[in-house]
């Protein structure tokens, strides 16, 4: 009986490790979440030098793309962005409306640990947050054992808010291609 119990524990642990990785939401599903009425135009934000530098400051490393794809309907924008947790990129989606995060989700998690950030108890903390200077307007509680994933999520939230600001600033750099 004790061996059965040990085996069950080992299986649960193995499942916990491998259960962290996964694809939880497709881009299409995220768009449907962001724009339930399906009215959103796909656009590109082309980054100038200053914007790339600002993005690099938020991420604390170079931002290696010249344009960022997003979807927009009025004052509502949706962004799918990647940031490395420990070694692998985490794909996250952020919906921003009126300068505040309306939705925040983990689309794909590729690390072996730290995947707890995908659960609503964590992502709900971002709702309503805005950019206050260079920081988020509210605190986001961390998760033990998921420090780097939490840090990546905070960076993505700030980046999405920053990009939203740039888009709203007279459509600077906005393009359909």
């Amino acid at each position: 009986m004790k061996w059965f119990g040990l085996g069950m524990i080992l299986m649960l642990l193995a499942g916990a490790v491998h259960g962290q990785r996964g694809s939880f939401m497709s881009a299409r599903e995220f768009q449907a979440l962001a724009f339930p009425d399906n009215q959103a135009a796909a656009k590109f934000l082309w980054l100038n030098g200053e914007q790339k530098q600002q993005a690099a400051r938020i991420l604390r490393h170079d931002f290696n793309s010249l344009r960022v794809r997003y979807w927009r309907n009025g004052d509502r924008t949706a962004w799918i962005l990647d940031e490395v947790g420990k070694e692998q990129p985490i794909t996250m989606g952020a919906v921003v409306e009126d300068g505040r995060i309306a939705q925040f989700a983990v689309l794909e998690f590729r690390e072996s640990r730290g995947g707890e950030i995908r659960y609503p108890f964590f992502t709900r903390q971002f709702h309503g947050l805005s950019l206050s200077g260079k920081t988020l307007s509210g605190s986001v509680d961390g998760i033990t054992g998921a420090t780097l994933s939490v840090r990546a999520a905070r960076k993505i939230a700030k980046l999405a808010l920053f990009f939203h600001q740039q888009v709203m600033a007279a459509g600077a750099g906005e393009s359909d291609q």
Binding site: S65, L66, R67, R69, I80, D176
Partner: protein, 263 residues
């Protein structure tokens, strides 16, 4: 002549001394190696040993590393090569690291598009900068196995079948028929001069002097049996310490006895 019977304590002490000397001789070289590498490792940052990389010649000497695997595509006048299954170079300039093997490259309007198995990367018209990266999170039907222009769009071939990509709208439309006249992107042989340059660049980025010192210090430079050798040396060092202390202790007792009880 009467044989002199040495006291047993002296015999034991002599035996210790002999083994201490033998073990010491054997271990001396490793003590030197560990001392030198240990001191250098203690000052890695100051000596910038973590920054400096071994040249390809030293890599071949210490690690037996050969020229890495390369895959190249030619787009107009530019060469795009993937080295060791990761780094993507335009000519000899590193552009980015790709997720998966490079499987295609084409010109698409004012962009260059490169496909790796798990990622599609859009580059500027001169190929020098990344415009955008697309992965399965964006709907890419990975793994991708081939890339071809089709009807002013991009066709991708993969395990999930054939898809047509509208890059602007980011739609991936399954294509049921397999058009026979698609010009699938195919790799070409990497020119020798470029191969040599990329080999030097890539190997030169792999191992630092710090890494080499760590491998020497641990014995891993000789592979797994090098680690066992270092473990054996550690046991010999323990023997040296034990025999050394034993000899000191015995000599002390002898001095005490000879001195009439005074230490």
């Amino acid at each position: 002549m009467k044989a002199i019977n040495k006291p047993s304590g002296s015999k034991i002490r002599l035996a210790f001394w002999r083994w201490h000397r033998r073990v010491g001789l054997v271990a001396a070289l490793f003590v030197l190696l560990l001392a030198v590498t240990g001191i250098l490792l203690n000052h890695t940052a100051a000596l910038r040993l973590d920054r400096g990389k071994l040249s390809p010649q030293w890599l071949e000497v210490f690690y037996g590393l050969d020229s890495p695997v390369m895959v190249s595509y030619r787009l107009e006048d530019s060469w795009f090569s993937q080295v060791a299954g990761e780094a993507i170079y335009q000519e000899a300039e590193l552009i980015f690291n790709c997720q998966g093997p490079l499987v295609g490259a084409l010109v698409y309007g004012r962009f260059r598009v490169l496909a790796c198995e798990q990622q599609l990367v859009v580059l500027t018209s001169d190929g020098s900068q990344v415009v955008e990266r697309l992965s399965a999170s964006h709907g890419l039907p990975a793994p991708v196995r081939g890339l071809a222009p089709c009807d002013n769009q991009i066709c991708l071939r993969g395990d999930a079948g054939l898809h047509r990509l509208d890059l602007a709208a980011l739609t991936w439309t399954p294509v049921s028929e397999n058009p026979a006249d698609l010009a699938w992107s195919t790799p070409v042989a990497t020119p020798e001069d470029l191969r040599r340059r990329l080999g030097e660049i890539h190997l030169g980025q792999t191992i630092s002097w710090e890494r080499l010192l760590l491998d020497m210090h641990s014995g891993r430079i000789l592979g797994s049996w090098g680690v066992w050798l270092m473990d054996l040396m550690a046991i010999l060092f323990l023997l040296l310490a034990v025999t050394g202390v034993a000899m000191w202790s015995m000599g002390r007792r002898k001095r005490v006895r000879a001195g009439g009880g005074k230490a």
